[in-house]
């Protein structure tokens, strides 16, 4: 009897040790993001908001340090915490004075909020599928709507389809595609047919910007799809993140050389008193990036996005002249 008791105690002790180990590991993993202050299961995601001092982090899905939807320093809203929100400003290099702008995907609302801050006269429409996200952006991330900055709760593709059905069709000078779920961009927001619809709401001299990840083969397919629809596409590669911006100018828009981009960035920097360094954004332009020759156009019919995303890119686009 005593023997059995001892065995049971040992097993219990072992379990407790293992459990505390697990706890310890998860606590260490979470430290980077701070304390979990809000959790919500919405229709689409498991939304988590973390707080570390004044820094708020938004995450969809399970806890991973590598992928954050948004990060905001509430003490300094002008500070970009993640590289992609800075890179998204590259649209202004092509179209310095946009009258109308469309952003798909709200997240913490950093991109539309900062665009609105620097360009208060620009009408900005945001399409966000999850009705919970605008509430969270407002409550935790300092995001405010007004008559120039409006959030529409709708699937991005449906929103654009509806805009196409209006008379006259509203034309946007800059369209920023930044709709992500916990994993990546939903497939129906990457295909040729979708980009054709985007082209329909794009001003002649406007520009489409798409936030993508570039270390996998899906990047090539996306670039190939952009080239198939818009004919031209340039890439701004992230310096310390996996994010890249695809920039495709409309039919009468023009492509930029790095030199032009830099000189336009200097003008923007002065004019809007940008808090971040627009010059580094301009220097991230890789004008000659071409997709891998095997990459195929993504269509509504065939878009093996999940598979391509798990395949590493053969060459880093950095090495392309």
């Amino acid at each position: 009897m005593g023997n059995r008791m001892r065995k049971a105690a040992l097993i219990l002790l072992f379990c407790a040790a293992a459990y505390s180990q697990l706890l310890f590991v998860s606590v260490v993993a979470a430290r980077g993001l701070g304390r979990l202050i809000h959790k919500k299961n919405s229709l689409y995601h498991r939304i988590s908001v973390y707080r570390s001092g004044p820094v708020m982090t938004l995450q969809f899905g399970r806890r991973r340090l590598v992928q954050m939807q948004s990060q905001v320093d509430l003490d300094n809203l002008r500070q970009h915490m993640l590289e992609y929100t800075e890179l998204a400003f590259c649209g202004l290099l092509y179209e310095p004075e946009p009258k109308k702008m469309l952003v798909l995907g709200l997240g913490g609302g950093v991109i539309p909020r900062e665009m609105h801050h620097y360009l208060p006269e620009t009408e900005i429409d945001v399409a966000e599928i999850d009705p919970e996200v605008p509430l969270i952006a407002r409550r935790f991330f300092g995001f405010r709507q007004d008559d120039k900055l409006r959030v529409h709760v709708a699937d991005g593709r449906m929103f654009i389809k509806r805009q196409l059905g209006r008379d006259p069709v509203p034309k946007y000078d800059i369209v920023i595609l930044d709709a992500f779920n916990s994993d990546y961009i939903p497939f129906h927001l990457m295909t040729k047919e979708f980009l054709e619809e985007v082209k329909g709401v794009l001003a002649e001299d406007g520009v489409v910007i798409a936030n993508v990840f570039y270390s996998n083969r899906l990047f090539d397919a996306e670039l190939r799809t952009f080239l198939a629809v818009f004919g031209r596409c340039q890439v701004f590669l992230g310096g310390y993140s996996d994010n890249a911006m695809l920039a495709a100018p409309g039919p009468t828009g023009r492509m930029l050389t790095v030199k032009e981009a830099v000189s336009r960035a200097k003008i923007l920097q002065r004019k809007h008193k940008l808090f971040f360094d627009m010059l580094t954004v301009a220097k991230r332009l890789r004008a000659g990036t071409r997709p891998d020759s095997h990459a195929k156009v993504l269509t509504d019919d065939q878009a093996p996005v999940n598979w391509l995303r798990t395949q590493k890119r053969r060459r880093s686009p950095r090495h392309v002249p």
Partner: protein, 244 residues
């Protein structure tokens, strides 16, 4: 001695033929189970470009329509299984479902665009679109299971066992269809996958029709399959054989 031997051989032959027949019937039910789930998984993908990936489309419209269509299909299948020429009916049903799938890629766009332009939102629009696109083939596929149960059943006391067998196998095949489609077939062209499934389904239906025609050619007695078997004392025969 010799006569007894050949009789034994004949009963063995009969038994193995019956096993084959059971396997074939279950295979039909499995095929239908597979294609229902394949279509359901692809259905989400078919509708996403037109109605988005909102929860309504995925959870509500597609799954809802499949369940309702299946229920209609079970009802219809049960009713049809009582008919004398149930074999021919099922063959025609499967061929029709196959033809529908083959044609589907060509009317996805007009149907979805038409419904969207009609002014329906993603909820009712996607519901109507999935009814139009997937309703008919799913009803037809649903007729297979009750018919298969009828074909397998020789005595009333076996009916539950046979229903369980058919449901278990066809649902397991549904699981396989679900997983294989979601993991692998989505990588391929969606239109091509649906078309190919249509061809396979039509071939399955064609095989059933051929078999029915072949049996009808053998004699008028075996044409009305269900009825004749009921009256045959085969089961008693088996029972005696086992005792020996």
């Amino acid at each position: 001695m010799r006569a007894g031997h050949s009789e034994l051989m004949q009963t063995r032959l009969k038994k193995s033929r019956r096993k084959l027949r059971t396997a074939a019937i279950i295979l039909i039910a499995c095929g239908c189970g597979w294609f229902v789930m394949e279509l359901e998984v692809l259905g989400v993908r078919v509708l996403a470009p037109y109605f988005g990936s909102a929860v309504y489309v995925v959870m509500g419209s597609v799954i809802g329509v499949f369940l309702l269509s299946l229920s209609a299909g079970y009802m219809l299948g049960g009713w049809l299984s009582k008919k004398a020429n149930s074999k021919r009916t099922l063959g025609v049903n499967l061929m029709a479902a196959g033809a529908w799938l083959c044609a589907m890629p060509f009317f996805i766009e007009p149907v979805c665009d038409g419904i969207f332009n009609f002014g329906l939102d993603e909820k009712w629009g996607s519901l109507l679109a999935s009814f139009v696109l997937f309703g008919a083939p799913t009803v037809l596929l649903g007729t297979a299971s009750p018919t298969a149960v009828r074909w397998l059943t020789r005595q009333a006391s076996d009916s539950g066992l046979n229903a369980g067998l058919v449901l278990a196998f066809s649902t397991a095949a549904s699981f396989a269809g679900c997983v294989v489609t979601a993991f692998y077939l989505v990588l391929l062209s969606m239109r091509l996958t649906i078309c190919t499934s249509g061809v396979v389904l039509a071939a399955l239906g064609g095989a059933i029709l051929l078999q029915a025609a072949f049996q009808a050619g053998k004699g008028p007695g075996s044409e009305a399959e269900g009825k004749t078997e009921e009256q045959l004392p085969e089961s008693r025969y088996d029972f005696e054989e086992e005792k020996v």
